[in-house]
């Protein structure tokens, strides 16, 4: 690899022990992937953040870097914490677990991290612009910033993300290079030219991740104008079931104004068709049981937006959450503060729901509650919940989730019934 003088200096240790170690790791990874050089990044995002997922090794590595005097050279945000950052006791977080999480927080404070604790740094003030090179982890965020914002990031991984923040650089390979950003597989939407319902976006994402593997897909035939929250949910599911880092959505992705632009010089290697049957079959796969008493309705993976919380309040329509069922919404501190100011927080609490801040169901110790069945509107959560929450899982629309919270079991929402094609009542309810 060709290194600049500044990079050579870091590698020699002129910038301190931590920068030396970080540079050694990045150069090694770069060499393995045939990178010719390092690319300057505008920001880093770190997934080596939540104790539940990084274990003791992760705590040791963070502390090692902090003890070496590491300081982040570029703005570096943090993925969610392993527990509600304020009400962790209320959410039954074991003390020994909390102590490890607090050690991680302390290490990052010393290193000058932006203490963002969210999977959505791009929704909370740290969005990269079109064409900007960044070094991010968090599979859902990487898929979103490449596919929707047109920023450039590989799926970096834990520890490497810390090294990127410390050096302000990452190996230049993969999605940093234009020639690797074109599509290879065509995904044709053949659902009669109709628009997808909000809940169908994560279903489509779940299917895409599983089907495309690391091949970049080009999705043609999405009708209407998907909302940011719908794309967020879709790409999070796609990046859970597969290694998807980027997908072209023709007419939405900045680099895919047309199908031809998305494919660039590449030849079409294969075509995948999405039919009503695809969506129906995929949705069934996203549930481990068909109907059950619901113990926890968990929303906000990725973190819920204020509009999504407003929608839940509207769907609740003043009805209380059933006894022996919990309704938890996971979100950022910014959105929680907004919900508080708007009186939504008080209303939700009054109806028996809770807002959990800066964490989520997958990376906090939800299993300490002993829930048996969890319901969610998140495709990503539906994939990971059986292992991470130790529950059965039912995927449904936000409306179905709210009905389940009110009734304590799966019930088809009255007002939504006629709007759910491909989702016959007999399907799951």
């Amino acid at each position: 690899m060709i290194l600049t003088q500044e990079e050579e200096a870091m590698l020699r240790g002129d910038e301190g022990e931590a920068a030396k170690l970080a540079m050694e790791i990045l150069v090694k990874v770069g060499e393995k992937f045939g990178a010719k050089r390092l690319v300057l990044v505008a920001s880093a995002h770190i997934v080596l953040a939540m104790y539940k997922s990084i274990f003791d090794a992760g705590v040791e590595v963070c502390e090692k870097f902090a003890a070496m005097g590491a300081r982040f050279r570029v703005p570096t945000t943090l993925d969610p914490s392993g527990m509600d950052t304020q009400k962790w006791r209320e959410f039954k977080t074991p003390d020994a677990y909390a102590e490890k999480q607090l050690r991680v927080a302390k290490a990052y404070e010393q290193m000058g991290a932006i203490m963002s604790w969210t999977c959505l740094p791009h929704f909370t003030g740290s969005a990269p612009r079109f064409g900007e090179h960044v070094g991010w982890t968090e599979s859902s965020a990487v898929a979103f910033i490449n596919s929707v914002l047109g920023a450039r990031s590989n799926r970096e991984t834990a520890v490497l993300d810390v090294c990127i923040g410390i050096t302000g650089r990452t190996p230049e390979y993969g999605l940093h290079l234009q020639e690797n950003r074109y599509g290879k597989a065509l995904v044709k939407m053949e659902i009669g030219g109709r628009m997808l319902q909000t809940w169908e976006y994560p279903v489509l994402g779940y299917f895409l991740g599983k089907t495309l593997g690391s091949e970049i897909g080009v999705v043609e035939g999405l009708v209407g104008s998907p909302k940011m929250d719908e794309l967020k949910s879709m790409l999070a599911a796609a990046a859970a079931t597969g290694p998807l880092a980027m997908v072209h959505l023709v007419g939405i992705t900045p680099e895919a104004r047309t199908r031809a632009e998305a494919f660039g010089p590449n030849h079409l290697e294969r075509t995948v068709t999405v039919t009503e049957e695809t969506l129906k079959t995929t949705r069934a796969e996203m549930c481990t049981v068909k109907s059950a008493k619901i113990d926890l309705v968990a929303l906000g993976c990725p973190h819920y937006s204020i509009a999504e919380i407003q929608n839940v309040i509207k769907l609740l329509a003043g009805r209380k959450v059933a006894a022996n069922t919990e309704l938890w919404i996971y979100t950022t501190k910014q959105v929680r503060d907004l919900a508080d100011r708007m009186g939504i927080m008080a209303e939700l609490l009054g109806l028996g729901g809770k807002i959990a801040t800066e964490t989520c169901m997958l990376i906090s110790p939800v299993e300490t509650w002993g829930f048996k069945t969890l319901m969610t509107d998140s495709g990503k959560c539906s994939y990971y919940a059986p292992v991470q929450c130790k529950t059965d899982v039912i995927f449904g629309s936000a409306a179905e989730c709210v009905e389940a919270a009110v009734n304590g079991r799966v019930v088809a929402p009255q007002q939504a019934k006629s709007r759910l094609p491909g989702d016959p009542e007999g399907g799951r309810a």
């Binding site: 997922s53 982890t137 490497l160 990046a239 292992v387």
Partner: protein, 140 residues
């Protein structure tokens, strides 16, 4: 005993019995680092251990926290002996490099073999992976 060429992704040489799957594999939510046992109920290898195995799967998927799981596997002494992929993505490659750097654990990873490892290697075959030199040897 047959030898096949490939591309070494990390350094090191190791051997063990093969554990083969045609399904993608993600380490986070895929394996319990405290035991090395596969905990993803949706995976065909659910319940099997990757500890000391030459783990053969097409490619990684899912969470970018993957390298942390590989580190914890290394810290607990439950890492696979080696990994063989069709295509190794950055998460796994970095995991192997980091395991060596932080826990002195060699995790040889090789991809781009001249054969399809998923069909040519059977679970239980004794496989030696030399990722430094870029080849594998498959015995029966």
């Amino acid at each position: 005993m047959k030898t096949f060429k490939g591309k070494g992704v990390t350094d090191g040489k190791n051997a063990g019995p093969a554990l083969v799957t045609g399904q993608m594999f993600g380490f986070w939510g895929g394996v319990d680092p405290a035991t090395g046992i596969i905990i993803d109920q949706r995976h065909e290898l659910y319940g099997q251990s990757i500890k000391g195995k030459v783990f053969v799967f097409p490619e990684g998927r899912g969470s970018t926290v993957g390298a942390a799981i590989i580190l914890e596997l290394a810290r607990c002494g439950n890492a696979p002996a080696a990994i063989i992929n069709h295509h190794t993505e950055g998460i796994l490659a970095a995991g192997g490099i980091l395991a060596d750097k932080f826990y002195n654990t060699k995790l040889p990873i090789i991809d781009g073999l001249e054969i399809d490892p998923i069909t040519e290697i059977k679970t239980g075959d004794w496989v030696e992976v030399d990722a430094t030199a870029g080849f594998i040897t498959v015995g029966k």
